[in-house]
Structures are given as structure tokens and as C-alpha cells.
């Protein structure tokens, strides 16, 4: 029957999916309204855990937004045609996730109504203020890059634009890592390894997001991904996952070697309840070991395995950030090293945090925004990778 043609079914499915995403965004906005009305008291955050679930979502999306551009960089800067065909999609995903992440970050502020203050008052010594510039320029650069790729007359500039984006995303992820590495007094942070660690992690998370969106698009259009491209991209994901795990391992090993950091590492890796559990089961096993098996085990590594592996890498990423951001704050600040400390303000005790519904909804609202931008973008513009003949690869 005509009304049940696959085309119409898909059309309907598209509207259902975007409506669900829009509802999630609305729920997130309603949460923001509640947080505005009642204050952050309705979140799980407090004076010890000042950054919570919204920051986990926001930082994941911002880091992945930078990492996903690897796909376009490999195309433009390193001139690999298989990746060049995917560069526009990577650019769209980057913009979508950057928008989602920044919205969450902004709406979690105590005074989101003062965003204009943040845009007009720059403290030049503040990494946050630098990030305002880094994010804005990133947005503009990626939009310009997309323009050079999608508008025939602008194509001669594509390589240059790609190069700017390539450089800028390193600066951007460095900026994200530096937010933490400039915190002198916190035992979890204040380390120069954090910016490079975040850069490498961004490669893995970004590519994982790309894989999922790509397989969804191919599924949707009943296309199969070229085997050669599929193999290359899955191996690249495996490589990035291993590299990210290496950096995380070095970060913890360095800490373990310093006597003053041992107690903190023990908290994160063994005795800290939810945090070691999330670190080992969530990040190491679910986010690294299982995906690597799915990618590299002989006979596996097919498209659907890689999609599942990518989902696992993403979940592992959230687990990692939860441990890194919230676990890092839960461990008490060492104000008097070598002393046992107690006070009415949580000195010397592990900070407690349980995320509340509004802040979780705010986080998912950001994901909803990223989804909407991606879905609508793909539908109205030409973002679907166009496969080149095999010999061109």
C-alpha cells in the first residue's frame, strides 16, 4: 500500500525521533527553570562537589566535538580521500556537540542570565575566559570549513580552512585539559599530563560518536559501508582507545609513585566506593577492554560490532569523567598535610554527591540539542558521506 511505503514510514520515524529529542530538550529547559527558581539546592551539588553531572555531560560533548574533527583533519590535512568524504559529517557533529555541551555548561551557571557579563568581561588570566574565545572561534572556524566543503566556489579554500580547524581543535582540547591542570591545590588535578590526555581521549570519544552516527545513517539509507573504509576506521578507533588508556594509566601511575598522592589514588582506584567501581568496571572494562575485543578479535570487527564498541567507548567516557570530575572533588582537599582534620564544612571527609533528576535532565537536554542539530542537518543538507570508487582510495 502506498501509505506504508518505506519512505513514508521513515518519514514518520524521523518526526517521532526528532519529537522525542525536542521533548527531552524541553524537559532540560524546564529543569533549568526550576534551578533558576529554587537555586542549586534542588541539584545534588553542594559546597564540596561544586561541579556535578551537568559538567560530566558538557565536558564529554565538548571533548568529543573536538575529537570528531579528526575525521575531517585526516581528510584535509593528511589527504585521505576516504576521510575527506566524511569531513562534512564530522564538521556537523562537531558543531552539534559543541552547541549541546556549551548549552549545558551555560545553563548550569548560578546566574545563566548573566551570560552577557561573561561575554563582555574578560579576565585574561582565566582559563575559562580563554575557553569562551576558543569555543567561539571553533564554532566560526568549523562553519567556515563546512562552507568551503559544501559550496563549490569556496572549495579552493577548503584545505586552508581544514588546517585552521586542525590547529584550533588542539588548542580547544588543550584549553579543556588546562581547566583542570591549572588547579594547584586539588590532588586529582594540577598535572601537566591532563591537556595531552584530554586530546588523545577526544580522538577516541569523537571517533566513537562518529561511528555510531555513520552506522545509523547507513542503516537508515540501507547502504553498506565499504569494507576497506570500515576496516580502516575501526582500526583507527582501536588505536585511539589504546592510546587514551595509555595516558590514563600514566596519569595514575605517576600519582601512585608520589607518596603524597597515594591516599588519593587509593580512594579512586580501590577504596572509594562508587568511584573505583565506575573506573574499573565502567571505564577500563566497558569503555576499553570490551570495545578492543569487539574491534580486534578475529572474526569480529564487523560494522555492528564496531557500533556496539563505540557505544561502549562513549559509556566508558561518561564513567571516566564522573570519576575524574566528581571523584576528584569528593576526595577532601589537603589543607593541613600530615594532620587529621575535622570541621563543620566537610574538611577531611569524603564529599557526598547524588545527582538529582533536574541536573540529569539538563545533561540529556544537551544531548537532545546535539541530536536535533545532527538529525535536521543531515535531513536538509548534504552531509551523508558519498563513497568514492574504490580505486580512488
Amino acid at each position: 500500500m502506498h501509505s506504508h511505503s518505506p519512505f513514508l514510514l521513515k518519514n514518520r520515524l524521523f518526526y517521532i525521533l526528532t519529537s522525542i529529542a525536542a521533548l527531552i530538550v524541553l524537559a532540560g529547559l524546564y529543569s533549568v527553570h526550576l534551578m533558576e527558581e529554587h537555586g542549586h539546592i534542588i541539584t545534588g551539588m553542594n559546597n564540596q562537589i561544586v561541579w556535578g553531572i551537568p559538567h560530566v555531560f558538557a565536558i564529554f560533548m565538548i571533548v568529543a566535538a573536538s575529537g570528531v574533527l579528526n575525521v575531517s583533519s585526516i581528510g584535509s590535512v593528511f589527504n585521505k580521500p576516504a576521510y575527506k568524504a566524511r569531513a562534512p559529517l564530522a564538521g556537523l557533529l562537531s558543531i552539534a556537540m559543541l552547541a549541546g555541551g556549551l548549552t549545558v555548561l551555560m545553563l548550569d551557571l548560578g546566574r545563566p542570565d548573566r551570560i552577557i557579563v561573561a561575554a563582555t568581561n574578560f579576565n585574561l588570566t582565566s582559563v575559562f575566559a580563554w575557553n569562551v574565545v576558543l569555543y567561539s572561534v571553533m564554532f566560526a572556524a568549523v562553519v567556515a570549513y563546512l562552507w568551503t566543503m559544501m559550496e563549490a566556489r569556496m572549495q579552493p579554500w577548503s584545505k586552508q580552512a581544514g588546517f585552521v580547524v586542525f590547529i584550533w581543535r588542539f588548542a580547544l582540547t588543550t584549553g579543556t585539559g588546562v581547566i583542570f591542570s591549572f588547579l594547584v591545590a586539588r590532588q586529582a588535578y594540577g598535572s601537566a599530563i591532563l591537556p595531552p590526555m584530554f586530546i588523545v581521549i577526544s580522538f577516541a570519544w569523537g571517533l566513537a560518536v562518529f561511528h555510531i552516527v555513520q552506522s545509523a545513517i547507513y542503516q537508515w539509507n540501507s547502504k553498506t559501508l565499504d569494507e576497506y573504509v570500515q576496516k580502516r576506521m575501526k582500526n583507527l578507533l582501536g588505536l585511539f582507545v589504546v592510546a587514551a588508556l595509555y595516558f590514563v594509566a600514566v596519569y595514575h601511575l605517576t600519582n601512585l609513585y608520589f607518596a603524597r598522592q597515594v591516599e588519593f589514588e587509593h580512594f579512586i582506584l580501590a577504596g572509594g566506593g562508587i568511584y573505583p567501581l565506575l573506573f574499573w568496571a565502567g571505564y577500563v572494562v566497558l569503555g576499553n577492554l570490551l570495545p578492543l575485543l569487539l574491534i580486534y578479535l578475529p572474526g569480529w570487527g564487523k560494522s555492528q560490532h564496531v557500533a556496539v564498541a563505540s557505544a561502549m567507548v562513549i559509556l566508558g567516557g561518561f564513567a571516566f569523567l564522573y570519576v575524574f570530575i566528581i571523584g576528584g572533588q569528593a576526595f577532601p582537599l589537603s589543607i593541613f598535610p600530615g594532620f587529621e582534620v575535622k570541621s563543620s564544612f566537610g574538611d577531611g571527609v569524603i564529599g557526598l554527591y547524588s545527582p538529582s533528576l533536574p541536573e540529569v535532565l539538563l545533561g540529556f537536554g544537551g544531548v537532545g540539542i546535539a541530536f536535533l542539530i545532527t538529525a535536521v542537518g543531515i535531513r536538509v543538507l548534504n552531509f551523508v558521506p558519498r563513497e568514492l570508487p574504490k580505486k580512488a582510495l
Binding site: H38, G39, H40, I41, N46, N47, Q48, V50, W51, L109, G110, R111, P112, R114, I115, V117, A118, N121, F122, N123, T125, S126, V127, F128, A129, V132, I179, F182, L183, V184, A185, R186, Q329, L333, I335, F336, G338, F339, E340, V341, K342, S343, S344, F345, G346, D347, G351, L352
Partner: protein
């Protein structure tokens, strides 16, 4: 000169006069608020004698709460500008009680990280938060090594007009800047029954605090960070 020109000239003169009268107090107050007039002559600080600070005594905390209109609640979301900390040396077992608050660093990490410049240091060394510029990002709380700052989690009532606060912004000990500017002592220093908190000008060699820190051993908390706090402790 035509009459119109004379009138115009008079009008311009008068306008400039009015403008000057209108602007001058603003400029003057702006300088005062930033303590510019006192640059380098004054650095307000405190010396805390821990030997006299009694365990269980909370008078400085109560005085601070009353002076600044804080609720006095001690849940994890309540603001605490000053708190009593009991510390025990793990290797020797020696116990000490002391008040902890914003240490008013010379190189405050909170000021460095604040994206909007809401966290600032007056020329007289007092570190404050401009409640009109604070966007509530809490980066300063992450950066402070002394856990001195609180975020206002709830709407506020019955504020002290001298100490404006605001939901969704960060706050901390102001060293009772409104009292200092009136020539008074911070509330905690005045309230301490044992006179354990000595407040004064660290940059005036003849002041009591400068004399004391010259003659007795005192220490800064986390001196290893090189922040040069304005609050020093004796007997740590």
C-alpha cells in the same frame, strides 16, 4: 558676540559643571571601593594565636554569621565564611583548634581563574567577589586551596544591607570590609574571648601585627603553594 553665542557659552559651562559634579563622586567612590587610595601602604591581615583558641569555642563563627547575615546552618549547601577546624598531627598526636576562612592571598588562585573578574583583590589586600559580575561558575571554589568559598544554593532573606549577597553567586569572608572601611575590626576578631585573632596592617612596620609577626614564629597554611596569604597562624 551675539546673545545666542553668550547663551550657548553659558549653557556649555553650566553643563560641564553639572557633569563634573555628577561624575566626581562616582570616580572618587570607585577608587575608594577598590582601595586605590591606600595602594601599598596598607595590607590588611590577621595573626591567629592557636594556643589560645579553645576547642569547642565557636564565638568567631557566630559573630561572623550575625554580622554578615548568614543562616549559621552547617549542611553541605549552607554558606560558611569562617569555620573552626580541629587538627591532629598524625605522627605526634598533638591537637590544635583554629579558625579557617579566606586567607586573602597576595596571589589568589580564585582571582586568577575567575572568567569575568568578579573575584578581585583590593589594593589593601582584601579578596572579594563582585556580586554583580559573578556568573556562578564555581571555578574559584575549585581553585581555592583553603575551601574558603561557598556557593549560594538558595534564595536569601533578611540580608544585612552592608553585606549584599545573592543566590547563584559565590561568596566568602570579606574580612568584614564594611567594618574595616568604617575603622572597625572584623567581627570575628572583636568577638574572640581570648583575643586570639589579631587584625591589623601588615605593611605598617609599627602596627601591632607587624611587630608580632617580626618577633614570634608564625606560619602560613600551605605556604608551599607560594600564595602569600594575609592570614598567619601562630603555634601551628
Amino acid at each position: 558676540m551675539s546673545e545666542i553665542n553668550v547663551q550657548r557659552r553659558q549653557f556649555l559651562k553650566m553643563s560641564m559643571g553639572v557633569a563634573a559634579v555628577a561624575i566626581a563622586p562616582g570616580v572618587f567612590l570607585f577608587d575608594m571601593a577598590h582601595g586605590k587610595a591606600d595602594a601599598n601602604k596598607v595590607r590588611w591581615g590577621m595573626l591567629i594565636e592557636t594556643a589560645n583558641c579553645a576547642e569547642g569555642c565557636n564565638d568567631c563563627v557566630t559573630a561572623c554569621n550575625t554580622e554578615n547575615g548568614l543562616s549559621g546552618g552547617v549542611s553541605s549547601t549552607d554558606s560558611q565564611w569562617i569555620r573552626k577546624i580541629e587538627i591532629k598531627d598524625i605522627s605526634t598526636g598533638r591537637e590544635t583548634s583554629l579558625p579557617m576562612m579566606c586567607q586573602h592571598c597576595e596571589h589568589p588562585p580564585c582571582v586568577d581563574v575567575c572568567p569575568t573578574g568578579a573575584s578581585f583583590k583590593r589594593a589593601d589586600g582584601i579578596v572579594l567577589v563582585d556580586k554583580h559580575l559573578c556568573i556562578g561558575c564555581r571555578y574559584c571554589i575549585m581553585a581555592c586551596p583553603y575551601k574558603a568559598r561557598s556557593f549560594v544554593h538558595e534564595p536569601l532573606q533578611n540580608q544585612n544591607p552592608d553585606v549584599p549577597r545573592g543566590k547563584g553567586t559565590v561568596e566568602s569572608c570579606t574580612m568584614c570590609v564594611h567594618r574595616i572601611d568604617q575603622g572597625k575590626q572584623p567581627a570575628c576578631a572583636e568577638a574572640c574571648p581570648n583575643k586570639s585573632i589579631l587584625f591589623g596592617n601588615l605593611n605598617d612596620p609599627d602596627s601591632e601585627i607587624a611587630t608580632r609577626i617580626r618577633t614570634v614564629a608564625s606560619a602560613q597554611v600551605r605556604a608551599d603553594l607560594g600564595l602569600n596569604p594575609g592570614v598567619r597562624y601562630q603555634g601551628l
